[in-house]
């Protein structure tokens, strides 16, 4: 089996190691990974801003880049939702839409793997559900299932499904409200050291606010934590 990795614009710059971990993880599951060099941005920032023509330009480019892929795997829930749910509204029957998967979704739903290893034994984590992953992709159980089967305790968090306040440009157009939303998430966290999420934007938002407030919480990409789950011994 061969997949094309779409690292995403945020991923390339801010989560490069996590994306590399995604590659390692997929290879360890006997999946060949290629990386089409011309990939850049899925167009979500423009779409969210209401700029449809620019979103279309970026979507057209991305759809071409991945036109021949059997599967496109992304370490990002929101970008996956863009490809799967929004591209069909922008483009004529884009093949890439049906073939795109978020990483955990791909592992559980396509590879049908639910146990990666026991590398997270004894870890206490909180999981932040990114809104696009949760509501557009219906990705509620797959990530937590993989974390728990690897020995992690995913600690109940009453606000785990509430939006972190990133929302793309919302974070800079309504920064006060955005920060208040991040604060509500951080202030209701259970006692954990690490918060895991499948979305880069969410991680930047929560990590950025936590560091500003001097909170000793670490934020990790799901991809990296799943690689730890696998690598830590099977």
């Amino acid at each position: 089996m061969r997949v094309s990795l779409f690292v995403t614009c945020l991923g390339d710059r801010f989560f490069a190691n996590a994306a590399a971990d995604a590659v390692r993880l997929l290879r360890s599951l006997d999946v060949e990974v290629d990386f089409p060099k011309d990939q850049t941005c899925c167009g979500q920032p423009a779409w969210n801003a209401g700029d449809v023509p620019e979103a279309l330009r970026m979507a057209t480019h991305t759809a071409e880049v991945f036109a021949d892929a059997d599967y496109v795997v992304l370490p990002s829930g929101s970008c996956t939702a863009m490809l799967r749910c929004t591209y069909p509204r922008l483009l004529e029957a884009p093949a890439v839409a049906e073939r795109s998967y978020e990483l955990a979704e791909f592992i559980v739903d396509v590879l049908e793997v639910t146990e990666l290893g026991r590398g997270l034994e004894g870890r206490r984590l909180a999981y932040h559900h990114g809104c696009h992953a949760l509501r557009e992709l219906g990705l509620e159980t797959q990530p937590v299932r993989l974390l728990e089967s690897a020995g992690a305790g995913v600690v109940p968090w009453e606000m785990d499904q509430e939006c972190c306040g990133f929302g793309g440009l919302f974070s800079v157009k309504n920064p006060e409200v955005s920060v208040a939303m991040a604060d509500r998430k951080l202030d209701t966290l259970p006692d954990v050291e690490t918060v895991v999420s499948a979305d880069g934007g969410c991680l930047l938002q929560l990590d950025g606010r936590a560091r500003h407030r001097g909170l000793p919480i670490r934020f990790k990409s799901l991809a990296s934590v799943l690689w730890e789950a696998r690598r830590g011994g099977s």
Binding site: F14, A20, D38, T40, C41, H61, F166, L169, N174, R211
Partner: protein, 464 residues
């Protein structure tokens, strides 16, 4: 009412920074509503209910003219007066005539968002009429002289302490009065109003075409009183409130109550077919019933092929309750009678996009509202329509458009993208912090930290 939606960001900021207790009060109240709503729907087939309700409302809207005529005919048969108002000033003129013809000096009002929308209270007061809000939440905000901050609970942004203070000041209750004591004081004062007012004004939750019935849902009993005791009852009803059949009513009453507060149904429901009293051969009830059917931008919204579905709204407030953006500020930040997600899609349609521009952008597009709407309004999609139009009409900021245009140009040219990444990496944080947009980020958050090498570089080096 005056619209202040253009100031959304500044108003939101002021509420969060200067009155942080509002955020706490609104968050607590909305979380309770959300919990109760979940309990109420736990054993129900929510999908089946919402699909059915969506179809009934869409059917009503696509046959609206016929149903409005049918409702009017039924009401007139029973002796009601039916008036038609295209705009707020029409509503004013109609009310003014009724007031003058009947020497009305005092009005008791049941909660009506539509009456706020058309600025009715200030107008009546300018006619020399005393207007008393009788819904406890509305009465409280009337004391504070502020607009409602939530469709169902107008005063959820006010704490017990706030209310104790203003009741002490205006009604003379003790500073530490219990909620029961406060309610009793309001009850006594407003009871006298019910018994002496010449006119009661209400809104309408639903207008059933088949029987000409006006349905009103509540918990306090003030609507029952305001529509039963005074000699004249005026009901203001938006033309979109139509339900086709009598048999549709029972489900809509239940679904609306469950969506709003989690109750099986409101404590009191008034289903009004016509005037009472001698007009109907009954012992009491209003001698005159005036129904004012109000357009005020609704027909224009109905004509809009991309946004008309917003008119299915039953005003349950479920979208406000679940919205993570709304609960940081409450409704006053939105500067319009309808706030939260539904406000953000109605305001541009009823008032105009230019005057309400920030509202469709006052959302992270998280999608939670869509999950809870009992009539399946695709709120995130409608928010996006307004955003798209804002860009098309050149209403969004030049800086933003330039940045997005530049971004699109760079990302559709992969070689340029690689170069741009390298260049971006060279700009020191001190400078980045002050760039447009990133400046707003940095005020409360640390900048994202780029990893030492980009993924592309790691890939080229070979990933082990």
């Amino acid at each position: 009412m005056e619209v202040h939606s253009g100031d959304y960001r500044a108003r939101a900021r002021r509420i969060i920074e200067e009155t942080p207790e509002v955020r706490e009060a609104v968050t607590a109240a909305t979380r309770t509503f959300v919990e109760h709503r979940l309990e109420a729907f736990a054993d129900l087939d929510e999908d089946a209910l919402s699909h059915w309700a969506e179809r009934v409302k869409s059917h009503a809207l696509t046959h609206l003219a016929d149903y409005l005529e049918e409702a009017e005919a039924r009401l007139v048969e029973r002796g009601a007066h039916v008036h038609w108002a295209e705009s707020a000033s029409d509503v004013h003129r109609i009310l003014e005539r009724i007031v003058r013809d009947n020497g009305v000096k005092k009005v008791v009002k049941a909660k009506s968002m539509l009456s706020e929308e058309v600025g009715l209270n200030p107008f009546l007061e300018s006619c020399g009429v005393e207007v008393l809000e009788t819904d406890l939440g509305e009465y409280i905000i009337q004391l504070f002289d502020e607009p409602p901050s939530h469709i169902v609970g107008p005063s959820i942004h006010r704490s017990l302490d706030d209310i104790r203070a203003i009741f002490h000041e205006r009604l003379g209750t003790p500073r530490d009065a219990s909620p029961e004591r406060l309610a009793a004081a309001a009850r006594e004062l407003l009871r006298n109003a019910f018994l002496t007012a010449e006119m009661g004004i209400s809104g309408g939750n639903f207008l059933v075409a088949e029987t000409g019935s006006i349905a009103l849902i509540e918990n306090e009993g003030n609507i029952r009183l305001a529509t039963s005791v005074p000699r004249i009852h005026v009901a203001l009803i938006g033309i979109e409130k139509v339900l086709p059949k009598w048999d549709d009513l029972s489900i809509f009453l239940q679904v609306t109550a469950k969506s709003a507060t989690g109750q099986p149904v409101g404590c009191f429901v008034s289903i009004i077919q016509g005037p009472g009293g001698s007009a109907a051969g009954e012992p009491d009830g209003p001698e005159e019933l005036h129904v004012v059917l109000v357009d005020n931008g609704r027909s224009r919204l109905l004509a809009d092929p991309e946004v008309w579905e917003a008119l299915r709204c039953v005003r349950c407030g479920a979208c406000l309750n679940i919205c993570p953006v709304y609960r940081q500020t409450g409704g006053h930040a939105y500067g319009y009678v309808y706030s939260g997600p539904i406000g953000a899609i109605l305001a541009p349609g009823l008032v105009g996009l230019e005057e309400t521009l920030p509202l469709p952008f006052a959302s992270t597009h998280c999608g939670a509202c869509k999950d809870v709407c009992p009539v399946r309004i695709p709120i995130p999609d409608l928010l996006h329509v307004w955003r798209k139009r804002a860009v098309e009409r050149g209403l969004t900021s030049g800086v933003e458009r330039s940045v997005l245009g530049l971004w699109a140009s760079v990302v559709t040219r992969p070689a340029l993208f690689g170069l741009a990444e390298k260049v971006a990496g060279l700009i020191p944080d001190q400078v980045v912090r002050h760039l447009p947009m990133l400046r707003e980020w940095s005020a409360g958050r640390e900048l994202p930290r780029a990893t030492g090498r980009t993924f592309r570089e790691l890939w080229d080096e070979g990933i082990e």
